[in-house]
């Protein structure tokens, strides 16, 4: 079997691959949705930093509502059927000491994926959310397998 390609996903970006690929990312309060098509064995991943785009700046996948919508659309436009899509979701840690205030970004990032995936009728089949530790992920877009490791608070977003 071909060795999957490797790709490092930056915060605010999105990656989809038809051919086997290992997408790696590093999460703090950010959230990643790994969307996988069990029929076509293809998938994509986003890495959003904030829940909602408020209309200022570019409408990029830095924001959850845009990142999740774009990820679903990119799979559907590549031949996936909605009923074959499953999601694994990670991140949303409370890394800042002020996390108990209203600006708890991690918590709000978790909420948006929950609501949107529910609305879109996509099952979440695995998750590791919240807590106070960062996460490293490797997602195989061919097998849908995600390897995760907790990491200490460092320079992660």
């Amino acid at each position: 079997m071909l060795q999957p390609l490797e790709y490092f996903l930056l915060p605010g970006a999105l990656k989809f691959s038809k051919s086997p690929m290992e997408i790696t990312t590093l999460l703090g309060s950010c959230v990643s949705v790994c969307l996988w098509d069990s029929r076509l064995k293809q998938g994509g991943m986003n890495h959003y930093m904030m829940p909602y785009w408020n209309g200022s700046g570019l409408a990029s996948p830095k924001y959850g509502n845009i990142a999740i919508d774009k990820l679903i659309k990119v799979l559907l436009s590549n031949g996936s059927r909605r009923e074959d899509l499953v999601a694994k979701v990670f991140g949303g840690a409370a890394l800042l000491s002020s996390s108990d205030c209203v600006f708890n970004i991690g918590k709000r990032n978790i909420e948006i994926q929950h609501r949107m995936l529910l609305d879109e009728d996509i099952d979440v089949i695995a998750k590791s959310l919240g807590g106070d530790k960062g996460r490293k992920l490797i997602y195989n877009t061919n097998t849908g397998v995600v390897k995760m490791k907790f990491v200490q608070k460092t320079n992660i977003t």
């Binding site: 490797e6 970006a13 986003n46 996948p61 830095k62 774009k70 694994k88 695995a126």
Partner: protein, 277 residues
């Protein structure tokens, strides 16, 4: 349903109604911004294009003994093509960032070379307004940083373009570079009218231009600063503005080492595979 419940429901309906109204006005605003953008693009893309075509046509029809007349026409072609290239770069970069496809291509970014190419792109506008560009870079002071040279170039193109547009004739634009530890600081100041506090709130919004009047001579797509901000975020840097006898823009861009190399994963990894569901 008793009276209290009715009042509660009515309150909920009013709240929903207000939310929908607010959303609606936001949508209307966004729609009008989009149509503004399209008319701006028509100006910014069509005008240079028609000048390029007509100038090239003029050169082709020159008599052999008047070939020296081709030089000023070629200058116009260069200026218009450089403008076009700049606007198209902004549009394409905005589109790739919005698609989530913009990554970082690390290289050694030599600021002396970048500045030279940026100033060259605007040399006709700089000469036209007789603007003096003052920078502390020189043969003796070379500044370079590990980052994405192409992105830094586009940021400086946008900021210098704004400064030139807002500068008075015979004005001066100062660009100061400083490398402190692992961070590059760039300060660009002009002698224009500066940005007011109300304007400060919208400068990073896409498609928004401070001067939206029909007779605005300043041109532009309204995309520049939203692209600049998004790029600076990708480069893990920071941008701020201040008003001191004009506009002063301060950029902080960190040295980006290749810290995104492959992680070591081992036995204590948590596996989220198919068997789990």
């Amino acid at each position: 349903m008793n009276g209290d419940e009715l009042i509660k429901k009515e309150k909920e309906i009013t709240e929903l109604h207000n939310t929908i109204n607010a959303l609606n006005s936001k949508l209307t605003e966004s729609e009008s911004l989009k149509s503004n953008f399209i008319s701006n693009i028509m100006n910014e893309v069509y005008n240079p294009f028609s000048s390029i075509i007509s100038m090239a046509d003029n050169i082709l029809s020159l008599n052999e003994n008047k070939l020296h007349n081709a030089i000023p026409m070629a200058e116009i072609i260069y200026r218009e093509a450089a403008q076009l290239d700049f606007h198209l770069q902004n549009i394409f970069v905005a589109a790739t960032i919005e698609a989530g496809l913009e990554g970082v291509e690390l290289s050694i970014a030599n600021l002396n070379n970048i500045m030279e190419s940026v100033v060259k792109k605007f040399k006709f506008d700089i000469n036209n307004k007789n603007i003096k560009i003052v920078t502390n870079l020189s043969l003796d002071l070379h500044v370079s940083i590990t980052s994405d040279a192409k992105k830094i170039t586009l940021v400086l193109l946008n900021l210098l373009s704004n400064s030139i547009k807002n500068s008075p004739n015979n004005g001066e634009i100062k660009i100061h570079f400083e490398l402190i530890e692992d961070e590059l600081n760039i300060a660009i100041s002009d002698q224009g009218s500066g940005i007011s506090e109300t304007e400060m709130k919208i400068i990073f919004d896409r498609f928004k231009k401070i001067d939206e009047t029909i007779n605005s001579v300043k041109g532009g797509t309204g995309l520049g600063l939203s692209v600049v901000k998004a790029i600076i975020e990708i480069l893990e840097g920071n941008i701020s503005f201040s008003k001191e006898n004009g506009t002063k823009v301060i950029l902080n861009i960190p040295n980006m080492e290749n810290n995104h190399s492959k992680f070591g994963f081992d036995d204590d990894d948590i596996l989220f595979d198919q068997e789990l569901f």
